[in-house]
């Protein structure tokens, strides 16, 4: 069918009118074939302009529309919705930018005019090749799989579970609670006790919309946002494989601790050198004592154990050691307490007050450079350290180490299963460290808590609730998912199955159909960047709305 393209030039008040000879433009363009008419209007984005446009489209019934006005970043949306209101497919319209990148840049009116004509011609030739694109809708399942039953996993599950949303909570171990359950009290300021954790555990266990699977592991995951299938291996009374369908997945697999024994400078097997977690256990059992059963007279809390080796600060240790200091002053007040720190990392508003408080309770804080040496001295523990280059030593009954946080076991395997990347440090990597801190490149797969990197409890909780927020916002029960329209599309006859596109797609939107021997784009995931298009040697991928012929038309006109 022959094309009848309608062209509108916006005067944008004086902005375009004064700097571009619109009459000349109209004259030159009208002669171009396939152009049905060219009209001008004072200000198309104004309400009058929009009304005018809507009526025009209905009246003139053009096959395609070109509007020469401002930058698409300003009003493409505006005009597209006008098209929609007029019952005209918005993808058969092209906005040509003759303001920002023409009228406003080129002082000479003649030059500006001819540039504008070039751009409009390009738009006309391009729009002729546009196809009417339609929004798709994809069914989606609101249920969620949460991997890991620590505080992050619990918080996520509890925030998500509801009458129209089922949560499957999968935990490797036999019981829920993770690391935080091992603490004798949560890290203050408020010094909350762990009953809050056990309360959350009970709540999860008794929640009618949370399906808790302990001693279980996820062994396989396929699918995409709104439509995942997961297989879970359960080792409870009987061993079974359970298959579930969910719309989103949250990884909350937490962390493990650095083992100081691996480095002799941390005392190796010296008596009475213990980790903070070991102290928690003693505290829980009510008897904090030395190897020989005597109570300690003096202890040293040592921060940043393993920081040098790992190359990052584990965030929580400073406040954690301060907590232990408080514990001694409050419960074993006759023990003399020293805290050796490299840098006090107190990034949260009430951390410092908590530190000041400990100082008031005469906890001694000593600034020590990273490389402390812990050794035996008689039956006591000697710590040799430097402060701003000056060497000192300290002898105590007991040294308590605050080790760095490491990625949990199985992190790499899980990452591979989910096809999400890991960070240099071995923790999960966020899709955008700054703007999208709990999401991964794979839409519908989120990470919360220490699986993303070392953090303290409040941060883990925030992140858990954040994943909940993102899921609640994107997977509304009963609502369908409306994916990007301008996506990539495989031309089967051209695809040779070299899978180059798979390697360059950051979002895992392309998969390989072994039967047909070609690549397949999942439109639910594709963001339309076109990286695959640029990479395909066979030219087998078309990016809708930015096809080679469309862009090539623009080139030709630019060079005419």
């Amino acid at each position: 069918m022959s094309k009848e393209i309608g062209v509108y030039i916006c005067e944008c008040g004086p902005n375009i009118k004064d700097r571009i000879d619109i009459d000349q433009a109209i004259e030159e363009i009208s002669s171009q074939d396939e152009v049905k008419y060219v009209k001008r209007f004072p200000l198309l984005c104004s309400n009058d302009g929009k009304k005018f446009l809507e009526e025009e489209i209905k009246k003139e019934e053009p096959t395609h529309i070109v509007i020469a006005a401002c930058s698409p970043r300003e009003h493409e949306q505006t005009f597209m919705s006008v098209c929609e209101q007029a019952g005209f497919n918005p993808y058969l319209f092209q906005l040509v930018n003759i303001r920002e990148q023409c009228a406003w840049m080129i002082p000479d009116k003649e030059e500006a005019t001819s540039k504008a004509i070039t751009y409009i011609r390009a738009g006309i030739r391009r729009v002729g090749l546009h196809r009417p694109l339609e929004k798709k809708e994809i069914e989606s399942n609101p249920d969620v799989l949460v991997i890991g039953g620590g505080i992050a996993g619990l918080e996520t599950s509890l925030s998500l579970a509801g009458k129209d949303r089922q949560v499957y909570l999968v935990e490797k171990k036999a019981s829920l609670g993770g690391m935080s359950a091992k603490l004798s009290q949560l890290i203050p300021p408020q010094g909350l006790d762990v009953s809050l954790i056990s309360a959350k555990i009970d709540e999860a266990l008794n929640h009618s919309n949370i399906d808790v699977m302990t001693s279980s592991e996820v062994i396989d995951i396929r699918g995409f946002l709104g439509n995942f299938q997961a297989s879970i291996h359960r080792e409870e009374e009987t061993s079974e494989i359970r298959k579930i369908k969910v719309g989103a997945i949250v990884v909350a697999t937490g962390f493990r601790l650095y083992d100081p024994k691996t480095d002799s400078s941390y005392g190796g097997d010296v008596d009475n050198v213990i980790t903070a977690l070991e102290l928690e256990e003693m505290a829980a059992s009510g008897k904090v004592q030395l190897a020989d059963g005597k109570p300690p007279q003096s202890v040293a809390l040592i921060n940043c154990v393993g920081r040098k080796e790992r190359g990052y600060c584990s965030t929580a240790c400073c406040v954690y050691s301060i907590k232990l200091a408080h514990y001694f002053r409050d419960h074993l007040s006759d023990v003399d307490v020293t805290n050796l720190y490299v840098d006090l990392c107190l990034p949260h508003k009430s951390d410092q007050a908590y530190f000041e408080e400990a100082k008031k309770k005469n906890v001694r804080f000593i600034r020590a450079d990273e490389d402390v040496k812990i050794g035996q001295k008689g039956d006591r523990v000697e710590i040799i350290y430097n402060t701003d280059g000056k060497s000192n030593s300290l002898v105590v009954d007991m040294a308590i180490l605050a080790p760095a946080m490491l990625p949990a076991e199985g992190t790499a395997e899980l990452a591979e299963m989910l096809n999400v990347p890991l960070d240099k440090t071995g923790f999960f990597k966020e899709v955008h460290e700054i703007l999208n801190p709990v999401a991964t490149p794979i839409e519908g797969v989120y990470i919360a808590g220490c699986a993303l990197g070392p953090k303290n409890i409040p941060e883990s909780v925030v992140q858990s609730q954040a994943t909940a927020g993102k899921i609640l916002s994107s997977l509304v029960p009963g609502e369908k998912i409306v994916p990007e329209v301008k996506v990539a599309e495989i031309r089967e006859e051209f695809c040779t199955g070299c899978q180059t596109c798979l390697s360059v797609c950051f979002y895992g939107a392309i998969s390989f159909d072994a039967v047909k021997g070609i690549s397949v784009v999942n439109e639910a995931i594709c963001r339309g960047c076109g990286s695959c298009v640029g990479s395909c040697p066979s030219g087998a991928i078309r990016s809708k709305h930015f096809t080679y012929p469309q862009l090539y038309r623009e080139v030709v006109e630019a060079l005419r």
């Binding site: 051209f494 040779t496 199955g497 899978q499 040697p537 030219g539």
Partner: protein, 414 residues
Amino acid sequence: MESEKNKIDSKGATGVVVPADGDQNKTIISLLKQFLEKKYLDAILIPSKIPDTESYTWLLVHEESLLDSANPLPPVMTVQGGRALSTLTEHGELEGTIAVLMRPCEIRAAVELSKLKQIDLDNFTFFSIDCPGAVPLSDYMNDPQEMTKIFEQPLDKWGESESLRPVCQICDQFSLYCLVPSSDHSQSGENEDEMPVPDLHIGLIGEHDKVFLTPVTPKGKDLLEKVDLTVQESMENWESEIDRIREIKRKKRTDFHKEWDTKIKGADNLVTVFDECINCHNCMNACPVCYCQQCYFDSQFMRLTPDDYMERSKKRGALRFPLDTMFFHLGRMSHMALSCVSCGACEDACPMSIPVAQVFTAVGDQAQAYFRYVPGRAKGEVLPLQTYQEDEFGEVETPKEEAEMSSVEEKDNV
């Protein structure tokens, strides 16, 4: 770059030296026959002479008696082995254990194709063979007997022959060690990805009446042991000869670059080189690493509207037919220059005897060096355009980072 690319020390290999009493081919064939008879292999893909003709083709041989017509090292390369292999496996894997006997450049092409998911290497057992090169297809068809004679001569004075295809004359990857990535190929077994692809290499250089068999992978070792070839002998003669010849060839290659750089530089020169091109795209069809189902340059997306052609003709004063010759060759280059193994198939295929292979080799070598990439070296390597590093190729950006800084500094100084 060139020298680094092939920096491989071939000393200290052990293998099996088989007496060949004059005819190395016979010896190889009889070995292969044993493999088939004893069912250690189900089939062998091998170049063979078409009965009652002078031309060669690939045969997938099951019946050992048919190996008599086979020729492990034919004087010509009719169909590039890599391409033959990819067509075989285009629609799924082959049943059974299948061996392939190919020239080094053909194996390297196969490796590139495997990176492009066109061949599954694990599906095959690879026999590579010392290759003196091949004679130009056209010359051969003009006078088969004569060319066969000529072809057999250079086996003595490898590297010197002027009758071989030009890219063969400068080929410095004609034997096993040229493929082995690590300087110590005995170590290279530890990393699957670093493994040279041939399982068993057949050496011909050094002594006429011997064949040097080097088991490269456990697969190859196992095969030899099955036919009771376990004798560990020194391969020194073979090795030293390879080194000698490689030196000669490498020098030729350097000279080649000197010569060709001037021949192709500049639009006029390049156009002159391709002047006779008739756009038959045979080069593309013969090229093993041009693997596309349908070449984009043959597609309707390359066709333009009449007024576009008029426009272009106006601009240029005239429009040359066939259209887009240079666009095609440059486009093809940008697609496969990094994977070009300089096998020469394109040049053999060109009806207008345009030195396509030499142009692509001249460009390919430099482009590959720029990306520190050696096509076909090892299966584990990722194709350069399928990966990236965060900090690289700063020199292609404008303004250059350094430049920007200094300019800012000046401004600050003022």
